[in-house]
């Protein structure tokens, strides 16, 4: 008898616990909230330099907008009057897992929109599913131009300009700021981002500085391989005077550590397209004199830039997380701001609580203010953002005892990206018509 009572109690307890847990896992959506999944690398090698700073950037801006504590033009509380409820998901695990996770977020967790994604592989895999599930999706970091050049998407937007802009701006900076570059080589990770980055940089260099020559042995080590001794030797042996790299995450840090000891940076000029996180992480170990980019007006490049929004972001981020916001912090925050601007515009246009189609309509072709510059959805039928991209040279600020960037030059979007309706490769091959920088 006692056994039976115990068994029944256990059953009831189990059912009760299950119901409670279910309720906790999927809280009922309040009518005045908008649920968004923020996806970034929370584990794996990309978490430290990209994923977690990105997540934090989104979280900070979401909380501030919900509370109405952001400076103008985002001082009104909420997103079109709605409170944004964020849930955070991990981008690690590969493309197949991301597709499954995306379905889970939309179909089981019933999010109204998905925001984020760092890897180009994730973006390319998720976009068709977003279309199938008709869910507003805002890509934050990924760079491949193929996302909107191979297909048109109704539900997908990207607030980060694509990789062609980074490569053309790099070539422009070399033309404007570096003397005596005769031959250049590259070390880029062996996947879509690294291959594309080198390809576009090479074409842009040939168009902008035709007297320079590319080395015939550009290096493409495996992503996250960590050991670059042989590649460093190969480049040290050739007569190139500039080395291009789109390394990011721990790879850029390993490369810099291994190359520094071998005098690599004394012999070669080095341009890093996306390695700015290493400048902060390595401190004095990061070589001064490196040309560094952040794929926009982000991170260390705009750390000294005046402006109410930018200063607020830097100070609030440091206060909350104890470190400077990195490139991805800005990129994720930029996606949140695009959502805020669209939802506010939707309310202004329609006078009602924003619906999905109204938000998409408001976001298409939108111009909005980001933390340190303006952004416009000018490409991809109004779904692909363009914005300026800057480069500068690393230095050490003795006064503040921290790294800094000097000689910053920012190139406007029309100089570094193709006009609407033109494919990047065709535009580059045609000599970048319309680019007058």
């Amino acid at each position: 008898m006692n056994k039976l009572v115990f068994k029944n109690s256990l059953k009831m307890l189990t059912v009760g616990a299950f119901v409670s847990l279910s309720a906790l896992a999927s809280p009922p959506l309040a009518a005045d909230s908008f649920k968004v999944a923020v996806v970034s690398f929370l584990t794996g090698p990309a978490a430290g330099p990209f994923g977690v700073p990105g997540r934090n950037g989104a979280e900070l801006v979401i909380d501030a907008i919900n509370a109405g504590s952001m400076p103008a033009p985002y001082e009104s509380a909420g997103f079109g009057g709605l409170q944004l409820e964020a849930i955070f998901a991990d981008e690690s695990g590969g493309n197949a897992k991301q597709v499954a996770e995306y379905r889970n977020l939309v179909e089981k967790q019933e999010v109204d929109a998905v925001l984020g994604y760092i890897s180009s592989g994730s973006c390319m895999s998720v976009a068709p599913v977003a279309e199938e599930l008709q869910t507003l999706t805002i890509m934050s970091v990924c760079g491949t131009p193929r996302l909107f050049e191979d297909s048109d998407w109704n539900y997908t937007f990207r607030t980060q300009a694509h990789a062609v802009g980074d490569s053309v701006a790099a070539a422009l900076y070399i033309r404007d700021q570096l003397d005596d570059v005769k031959k250049y080589n590259g070390i880029n990770q062996n996947y879509a981002w690294g291959q594309d980055s080198w390809k576009f940089f090479d074409i842009a260099m040939q168009q902008l500085i035709p007297e320079t020559q590319a080395a015939d042995n550009p290096q493409f080590p495996k992503l996250f391989s960590g050991q670059y001794g042989t590649e460093i030797s190969t480049i040290l042996l050739d007569d190139s005077d500039l080395v291009h790299s789109s390394f990011w995450d721990g790879d850029i840090e390993a490369l810099v550590l291994q190359a520094s000891v071998r005098g690599f940076f004394d012999k070669k000029k080095f341009i890093s397209v996306a390695g700015a996180s290493a400048v902060d992480n390595l401190g004095k170990r990061f070589p001064a004199g490196t040309v560094i980019g952040t794929r926009g007006e982000f991170g260390i490049l705009v750390r000294e830039q005046e402006g109410e929004l930018n200063e607020w972001f830097i100070n609030a981020y440091r206060e909350r997380y104890g470190v400077y916001p990195l490139e991805s912090s800005y990129q994720y925050a930029q996606s949140v701001l695009a959502l805020k601007a669209s939802m506010d515009k939707s309310v202004a246009d329609n006078g009602t609580t924003p619906e999905k189609d109204q938000i998409i309509s408001a976001m298409t072709g939108l111009n909005f203010t980001s933390l340190a510059g303006d952004v416009s959805f000018a490409l991809g039928e109004g779904h692909q953002a363009v914005h300026p991209v800057g480069y500068g040279i690393t230095a050490w600020n003795d006064e503040k005892d921290e790294p800094t960037v000097v000689d910053v030059k920012v190139y406007p979007a029309h100089c570094i990206l193709p006009p609407p309706g033109q494919l990047s490769e065709d535009w580059l091959a045609a000599g970048m018509p319309g680019s007058d920088c």
């Binding site: 794996g44 996250f224 050991q227 042989t230 030797s233």
Partner: protein, 298 residues
Amino acid sequence: MQTAITVFLDGMTYASYLFIVSVGLTIVFGVMKILNVAHGGFYAWGAYSAAYAIGLAAELGFPDWFAFILIGLSSMFVGIVLGVLVERLILRKLYEHEEVIVILATFGLFLVLEDFILLVFGVNPYFAYQPMVFLGSVEMGGIFRDVYSLTLLGLAAFVAFACWYVLNCTKWGKILSTVIYDREISLAIGIDVKAVFVWTFVVGTMLGALGGAYIAPTISVAPGIGIDIIVLSFAVVVIGGMGSIPGALIGALMVGNLRAIAVHKFPEFELFVIFAVMAAVLMVRPEGLFAPAKIRRI
């Protein structure tokens, strides 16, 4: 000539690295017949422990050379703690099960070790460059090489010699050889096979951790560093023959040197060459180049 010297040194350095990280894997397989996927986790724990200890020592003002002692201590600490815990709590319960179950268990363990790293060390990278900077660089073949990477050659030679000496010149080596050839006969003649397994696994774990600890000063120690190394180690061990220490050495030398040639002359084939070598060897000798002879029971 300049290129030839550079290719040779690059190849030998990479081969040394491959040998150090794969020898523990092959020892464990040779003695215990366990394909230990968690080896990558031990590598990562070695790297994290060393990086943390070296960083702390630098903060506390210890001299840079002290890092070498910390590398050794970290490897031993990880090897003893994780090795004993894993063998006692997990593997011992699985010896009678099919190999595939054991592989799945070690794969699960690998994931747990990876997540445990996140829990203990977080997601931000650790740096332990002090010993690499301390040793500086030297000009060889017309370019500067970091001395620290060159010391890998010495470490690999020491590990190879120690393995050979223990297996061939000590009583412990004879016991190991007996267990490798036949576990049942070993039991019958009074060998404490369980103790042999514990010690073997601790040594294998220690070698995996040593690989990570020694490499830590040259890399950004970040989550996920153990994933790639397990794939590379498997390739080396499969080429040389599962369970063969000379096989691991030859496999590492082949992969290291062919990869160096590829990077210098055909960089687009860098990744391909490692697995092309493995495929070629397996086509000719499916059991690998130096797989220990198997007893056929009649």
